[in-house]
């Protein structure tokens, strides 16, 4: 069964350092989402891509976060510099099309900022 891949699964970093997370969606899925899940909360959208274009990044802290999906396939989310409050689970999800709302989630990257 096709799955969304994410790496690394765990990342520990010190504040002010740069970190990057990678996501490979299910083959053929045009829409890709990055969510952030703080411990004890539900996931919240950071950025939504349709192919290589950003559809919604209204909740992305653009002073320190960036996301790209250059060829419309895999995607990278970067934080620079990391802050203590960025400690969270970062989840990637994909769906076949923008208007097909069944999203499939990857295992996530657990970030700890010290």
């Amino acid at each position: 069964e096709a799955e969304v891949a994410q790496s690394p699964r765990y990342k520990i970093t010190e504040k002010s350092q740069a970190v990057a997370f990678w996501c490979d969606p299910i083959s053929g899925h045009a829409t890709l989402y990055w969510y952030r899940q703080i411990l004890g909360q539900g996931p919240e959208l950071l950025v939504q891509f349709q192919d290589e274009s950003v559809v919604d990044d209204s909740q992305l802290p653009k002073d320190r976060f960036s996301a790209e999906r250059l060829k419309g396939v895999d995607s990278t989310l970067k934080i620079q510099p990391a802050e203590l409050g960025d400690s969270a689970m970062y989840l990637c999800a994909s769906s076949y099309g923008r208007y097909n709302n069944e999203q499939f989630f990857g295992p996530g990257t657990r970030l700890t900022v010290l």
């Binding site: 989402y33 004890g40 539900g42 959208l45 939504q48 709302n101 999203q103």
Partner: protein
Amino acid sequence: AQSVTQPDIHITVSEGASLELRCNYSYGATPYLFWYVQSPGQGLQLLLKYFSGDTLVQGIKGFEAEFKRSQSSFNLRKPSVHWSDAAEYFCASSRAGTALIFGKGTTLSVSS
């Protein structure tokens, strides 16, 4: 603005007993509705979804949910809980073309 409320933060159910997890949504039109389950340190697995049509939706692992427009609710049910059902459960909603809006989740504990 669209929102999802899960009133129960934590529920404990005896193994073999029935389960109902509550979910209320706020949206003018009928949204798409979902229930996901998350085991510790893992991603989210879709249990079931409602887009339109029959208001009683069957999902995986013996779960079902009922959409009630008059109550703006989409409660999740299971007739007999197993110890392996202990996890975090999230209700979510969306509109066509948008990302999911999640509730804060309900932690299910199963006692023997």
